[in-house]
């Protein structure tokens, strides 16, 4: 029996169209748009000005506080303007526009660097490297990594979990990275284990990626401390709490963090970024993005410079097909629909999904028939139908009492509802109000 989390979950159509497509290098764009809010927390502070010449990897916006991150320019060139542009959130955000200097055009040569196994850097310096390199969680949550790694002395983390689950349908960025950079990922894990004095690490991978399980097992065979766990395919297993439960059978307490149960979780993409930052001093300026969709001709995976407009990516796979009605930044379960393709790729962009007419429209909501499916599939043990009802009626105190804030917004309830009720929409809305009320109270 493969391991998985015990309560709830769904199994949507996998549609991993691009799982056999090797990661291609996306041409460096002529102009990059680098937003200063690419992570959860305080936006970074811009430290360049118009007409400034910048070198590749130079810091252009520095961390705005502890829960924040440095942002580096992915290209060498000239800052043309500091502008407000619509980013993936749908809001206008401050952004640094940089025109690429054609002569100094970098071509992802860091991806070709040989494997560097020996860890020569001091333990303390490892964390400093990670902080300076602007590394954030690349699974999609974009939480600054150095915050997760800043362990208080009283915390006893005994196991590092590496998230290679990629439970979102369509996305294959992590899958490809695991296949192509397995050795580097193992070194990345060793770096973290060394820095944090952890003696056990488990890489969790869903069993629809048997090749990745095999490759990583082979890469890790010399290090007995690193294990690879094949997991049953079930969404949302890539959620931190569900993954910890599946692998360690430990349950992160309500409102708590993985540290509270002696573990920390990092995505494989993040681990690879850490490897590059520590071994080659490479800041986080490029990432793997899956560009996919049922009607996309040349759907594939790409190494992309942060700040590349999504339209460049779409052009690379053959343009938007006829009848495109929705473009999603991320996977179909948790990704955000974007208004147009001018939006740039950010640190959190794991995929671009193009959806056509027949799947883009939601059906009209009907009466709840109390079938209980939403309750059965909720991985957090909540009652989505009740939470929607309470949010709709404005009974936020009750909603808070019914644990609305523990919702992880995985969308399983909306996915499964036979009456097509917008359960998660209302729950999200309710959460935002409850959050405001809680801040007002304190």
């Amino acid at each position: 029996m493969l391991k998985t989390f015990p309560k709830g979950g769904i199994h949507p159509e996998e549609n991993k169209i691009t799982s056999s497509k090797a990661i291609k290098k996306m041409p460096v764009p002529k102009v990059v748009y680098v937003p200063i809010a690419q992570h959860i927390g305080i936006p970074s502070e811009i430290i360049v000005d118009r007409k400034d010449k910048v070198e590749i990897g130079q810091v252009v916006a520095k961390s705005g506080g502890f829960v924040s991150s440095n942002i580096h320019t992915p290209v060498a060139g000239t800052v043309t303007k500091l502008d407000m542009i619509v980013d993936t959130s749908g809001y206008k955000k401050q952004c640094i526009v940089i025109r690429t200097d054609q002569k100094n055009e970098s071509n992802f040569e860091v991806q070709e660097f040989p494997l560097k196994k020996e860890i020569t850097i001091d333990q303390k310096d490892i964390l400093q490297h990670i902080t300076d390199s602007g590394i954030v969680g690349l699974g999609g949550a974009t939480f600054p990594s150095h915050v997760k790694l800043d362990l208080k002395n009283d915390n006893k983390v005994d196991c590092l979990i590496i998230n290679g689950v990629e439970c979102e349908p369509y996305l294959t960025a992590d899958h490809r990275l695991m296949l192509e950079k397995a050795d580097e990922i193992i070194v990345g894990i060793q770096i973290l284990m060394h820095a944090l004095h952890i003696n056990e690490a488990v890489i969790g991978i869903e069993n629809n990626k048997k090749d990745a399980v095999a490759v990583l097992k082979k890469a890790a065979k010399d290090d007995k401390r690193i294990k690879v766990a094949a997991l049953k395919v079930k969404y949302p297993q890539g959620s931190e709490k569900q993954l910890i439960k599946a692998i360690l059978k430990r349950e992160v307490p309500k409102g708590g963090l993985p540290m509270d149960v002696g573990t920390i979780v990092h995505n494989v993409g993040t681990i690879f970024a850490i490897y590059q930052a520590v071994q080659y001093d490479q800041p986080l300026i490029e990432r793997v993005v899956t560009v996919t969709g049922k009607n996309i001709e040349n759907a594939s995976n790409f190494w992309v410079k942060i700040g590349t407009p999504i339209k460049d990516l779409v052009a690379e796979v053959g343009g938007l097909p006829e009848g495109t009605r929705k473009i999603v930044n991320g996977g179909p379960m948790m990704g955000k629909a974007i208004k147009n393709t001018d939006v740039p790729v950010t640190k959190g962009t794991s995929g671009i999904l193009v959806i056509s007419e027949d799947e883009a429209n939601r059906q009209d909501a009907k009466n709840c028939i109390r079938c209980g499916q939403c309750v059965f599939v909720c991985p957090m043990g909540l009652e989505p139908h009740l939470l929607m009802n309470l949010s709709e009626k404005g009974l936020y105190e009750r909603a808070s009492f019914e644990d609305i804030m523990t919702c992880i917004e995985c969308g399983s309830c909306s996915y499964v509802c036979p009456s097509h009720r917008p359960l998660l929409d209302y729950i999200r809305f309710g959460k935002s109000i409850v959050k405001k009320l809680n801040t007002a109270k304190n």
Binding site: K254, K326, I369, N438
Partner: protein, 334 residues
């Protein structure tokens, strides 16, 4: 780009499961029992079911169009199912106008006056049946006997298995003498007995019930808990005094036990939404059913038991919640 791009919140995919599909699954599940009913009762079963279904749909249409002036929902399949389930709970020789009255009560009172699909507290088909049972006890308890002359409209009326047992025990007979008059367990399983239209063959009903579980329309919790609890309770009485109480097998295979456990109690709208709640609900139904059967005035009690427990569903949903993830430790933030 000609067509506008749609912006909506996640998730962007759906399971393609719809209420309609759920309703039609229930419909398919009822086909075997319906075929047995036609085989046993002939044309009367067909007439009864058609009248009940058509009346339910027509009443829903009229009430929504002219009385409530709301959206017409007759195509969602729920009125159709209420009609079939109502018919399955009635004797086949019931006068046609009574069937129509039953449909009016089921749709008009039990369903639409509560707010329509999803808002009704009590199972509409059962409210219709119990209304008829209370108003017209004679017609509602004279059942045609199986098989003979199944194409004529006047059937010979006989009593149900549970009716024979109740009456026999009342006149001081013992189970060993009664058992010669009632159908064997095999006959009950196949449906060679007398009773309401749809409660004939336990086997046909089980077949449909398994289909519903496989299709994930219902979970096993309600039917299995009802049957197991009934078996334990009647089993205890039977072991204490087999001359005074019928065996658990007879109790489960006769009357509306299987129909009730798989199709009536599991009605999505009127049953609890959590698995814990379903078990409590089902234990309640089984206990009330057995108490009515053994000690009450009526030979059969499944309908009453389900309706009584329907009333407890909001309370059950309030107190039997799923276990919240990570709730064993006091919250830090909230």
């Amino acid at each position: 780009m000609a067509d506008p791009i749609i912006i909506s919140a996640s998730p962007h995919v759906h399971s393609a499961r719809t209420s309609k599909k759920v309703m039609y699954d229930v419909l398919y599940a009822l086909i075997p029992a319906f075929l047995v009913s036609i085989y046993v009762f002939g044309i009367r079963a067909l007439i009864l079911t058609s009248v009940a279904v058509i009346s339910c749909i027509v009443f829903e249409y009229i009430i929504q169009k002219y009385l409530l002036k709301t959206e017409i929902t007759i195509t969602d399949g729920s009125a159709l199912i209420t009609g079939i389930l109502l018919a399955f709970n009635l004797p086949t020789n019931l006068p046609i106008w009574m069937i129509i009255v039953g449909a009016l009560i089921a749709i008009g009172v039990a369903k639409l006056s509560f707010g329509g699909l999803g808002y009704n507290i009590f199972n509409p088909a059962l409210v219709g049946r119990v209304f008829l049972l209370v108003c017209f006890p004679v017609q509602m308890t004279s059942w045609p006997t199986a098989i003979e002359n199944n194409l004529t409209l006047d059937a010979i009326t006989g009593e149900t298995t549970l009716g024979i047992i109740k009456e026999g025990l009342m006149y001081g007979e013992t189970m060993s003498t009664i058992s010669e008059k009632i159908p064997s367990a095999m006959e009950l399983l196949l449906g060679i007995t007398s009773g309401s239209a749809g409660e004939m063959s336990a086997l046909a009903l089980l077949l449909g019930g398994v289909f519903l579980i496989v299709r994930k329309v219902i979970t096993w919790h309600i039917p299995v808990t009802i049957i197991v609890t009934m078996a334990i309770m009647t089993g205890v009485f039977w072991l204490v005094n087999p001359e005074m109480y019928a065996s658990p097998l007879i109790h489960i295979l006769s009357g509306g036990a299987i129909l009730g456990a798989f199709y009536m109690a599991t009605d999505l709208v009127t049953s609890p939404m959590t698995k814990k709640g379903m078990v409590i609900f089902s234990i309640g139904i089984a206990i009330i059913t057995v108490v009515i059967r053994l000690f009450g005035a009526y030979p059969e009690g499944v309908s009453f038991a389900i309706l009584i427990m329907n009333a407890f569903v909001p309370l059950i949903d309030k107190y039997f919640k799923p276990r919240r993830f990570g709730n064993q430790i006091k919250s830090k933030i909230m």
